[in-house]
């Protein structure tokens, strides 16, 4: 087990290292940030001064080395544009992203789990077909278009909800729905297949043989166990939501991490882009690591295989 954890940890660190390397060099291909920071008609000396100030005049591998050294100390560098530490910027936006992701997750579970259970109880029935349609639509509609149509309907025609910005709970409803839509479909599909698996198991058959009514079998015996994989997926999806909200955040002008990354890319703010992408990748790598370990704890066959 220890060996297994050590190897997994090694892989995760290697992935993280490759990620930092990829991002660092890709970012530097985007172009010269100095060109966007100086006034038009600035002299070569001014540009050179900016290069010197940010350390962009040094060889690439030295830049990378310095970047890694400070990264290991938890320092993501300073934003070229905002002139504040990237980590501070990140932390100032993180609560907004988390707020959006948590509400979207809540919506997706509230929609996904009951419809998945209903679909599994009567395979081929009305709710099953409905659920199939719903999950197909969930996978086929771009989230930003869902957002635009919501704005069109609830802000423009009905005038019930504000179309952009943040601050009140009302601002949250539409972005959360646009973001949660896709995940609701994913949660519905998993709930359905997980319920079907549990419903076919021996102990559910036993519960039925005991003469328990259908409702009790489903609520007490099947549902609880079927929920485990769904909640695992929900945990992973929460991390993914924080990191893929960029489009929804753009549509609704929501000041989260996605916006920060988008601004960083447009201003060629290297440290911001590096910081946000590495944080996002790191979160996913950590989650994958934890899941690998948990699975190995549950299923010894996994840790024995090479």
């Amino acid at each position: 087990m220890k060996q297994y954890i050590a190897r997994r940890l090694g892989y995760s660190l290697l992935s993280l290292f490759l990620l930092s390397l990829t991002i660092f060099f890709f970012v530097r291909v985007t172009g010269d940030p100095a060109a966007l920071l100086v006034e038009p008609g600035a002299s070569q000396d001014d540009i050179a001064a900016i290069h010197h100030q940010f350390g962009l005049d040094r060889p690439l591998w030295i830049q990378y080395g310095l970047f890694m050294v400070s990264l290991l100390q938890g320092d993501f560098g300073q934003s070229f544009y905002y002139r504040v530490p990237v980590f501070e910027l990140y932390l100032s936006r993180l609560p907004n992203s988390l707020e959006l992701a948590v509400v979207a997750m809540f919506l997706s579970l509230v929609i996904g789990i009951p419809s998945g259970v209903l679909a599994s109880v009567q395979v081929g029935g009305f709710w099953d077909s409905f659920g199939k349609m719903f999950s197909l639509l969930g996978l086929s509609l771009p989230s930003f278009w869902v957002g635009l149509v919501l704005i069109l309907f609830f802000s423009v025609y009905l005038g019930w909800l504000p179309s952009s910005g943040s601050g009140t709970p009302l601002h949250l409803i539409m972005p959360a729905f646009a973001l949660g839509w896709y995940f609701a479909a994913a949660h519905m599909r998993l709930t359905r297949s997980s319920m079907l698996e549990v419903l076919g198991s021996e102990y559910v058959k036993l519960a039925r043989l005991k003469g328990l009514p259908q409702k009790l079998v489903i609520a007490k015996h099947a549902f609880k166990n079927a929920l485990i994989p769904v909640l695992t997926l929900a945990g992973i999806n929460l991390v993914i939501m924080v990191n893929v909200a960029i489009v929804v955040e753009t549509v609704f002008a929501w000041p989260g991490i996605g916006r920060l990354l988008y601004e960083g890319i447009s201003f060629r703010d290297f440290p911001v882009v590096q910081g946000v992408v590495i944080m996002g990748g790191a979160m996913i790598i950590v989650v994958n690591f934890v899941i690998d370990i948990l699975y190995a704890v549950i299923d010894p066959r996994i840790r024995l295989e090479k």
Binding site: S140, L152, Y157, V244, V277
Partner: protein, 301 residues
């Protein structure tokens, strides 16, 4: 009085072979409507210059923000209305199909080619080659795909062919993962062992014995990826890092449509979105059908 007997030739003909085949396919759950939708999108894309009533990139400023013909203020000259530059929405939709089809199919094929090749090499050779390819795949999968695509698009600048390459770079890992898994089990099979005994080289085995057996999965995966790729393309164009204006792409039209959104010019938002939805939905339905038909193992995907 003569009785006239007339033989009435009944207008009953045996159903043509084609129709019969179609009916047979239908009964097996063949997704006829999705195939028709996708085929007509392909047709429209191919003959866009003949079908489009107006130039999609040039409008008349006198005819800005005209609604579709059935609303007051609309005219049959512009069936689905005009946008903020007075360009015909229908013509832009028609030419937009071309972008979606070209980007979607080429990206899926390139990604499929790279991913399948690497998956086979990784799975069959094993050892350090497998380790290297799979570590890279893992790192790739750790990146949020959309964020990575936006990032690459911002680097390379807007252009249709850049988008194709970016989408291929972003999505090849999905193929590599699945195909590698299949190859791992295939390479233990009898026919591969026999080929080794017969003295085939590794490359011959991969090309002649492994590849044909994973093609089904690659095709199924490709059909399912088509929807993802089209949505990603639309998203990139929407964010302004995809297909550059004034080229008509559905995502770009949605981005332009934002200008008229708050004043209620709904046609600029609804029509392009419906086109994307229909195309992606069709691809997904066809993919699901193929998956069930060809590859029961993939059903869990």
């Amino acid at each position: 009085m003569t009785l006239q007997t007339e033989t009435v030739s009944l207008p009953v003909r045996a159903p043509s072979r084609f129709a019969w085949r179609l009916a047979a396919l239908r009964s097996r759950g063949f997704p006829l409507i999705p195939v028709l939708i996708l085929a007509s999108v392909g047709f429209v894309a191919l003959f866009a210059n003949v079908l489009a009533p107006h130039n999609p990139e040039v409008g008349s400023l006198a005819a800005r923000f005209k609604p579709p013909f059935w609303q007051t203020g609309g005219s049959t000259k512009y069936l689905l209305g005009t946008d903020q530059l007075g360009r015909d929405v229908l013509s832009r939709l028609i030419f937009g199909a071309r972008v979606s089809v070209v980007v979607g199919f080429t990206a899926v094929i390139i990604a499929g080619f790279v991913g399948t090749a690497l998956g086979i090499i990784s799975g069959y050779l094993g050892g350090w080659v497998d380790q290297v390819i799979m570590r890279i795949t893992d790192t790739w999968l750790a990146l949020p795909a959309l964020t990575f695509a936006i990032f690459l698009a911002a680097i390379t600048g807007p252009s249709m062919w850049n988008i194709v390459i970016i989408l291929a770079i972003t999505y090849w890992t999905r193929y590599a993962r699945v195909i590698r898994g299949e190859v791992l089990s295939l390479k233990e099979r009898e026919f591969v062992r026999l080929a080794i005994v017969a003295g085939c080289s590794k490359w011959t085995i991969m090309r002649r014995h492994i590849l044909p057996n994973v093609l089904n999965s690659a095709v199924v995966l490709g059909t399912l990826m088509l929807g993802v790729v089209i949505i990603t393309e639309a998203t990139l164009s929407f964010l302004g890092v995809g297909v550059p204006p004034p080229q008509p792409a559905w995502g770009l039209m949605l981005s332009d449509g934002k200008q008229g959104l708050m004043v209620g010019y709904w046609w600029l938002t609804v029509f392009p979105g419906v086109c994307i939805m229909l195309m992606v939905l069709s691809a997904n339905l066809i993919g699901d059908w193929l998956r069930v038909k060809f590859d029961p193992q993939l059903r869990q995907l």
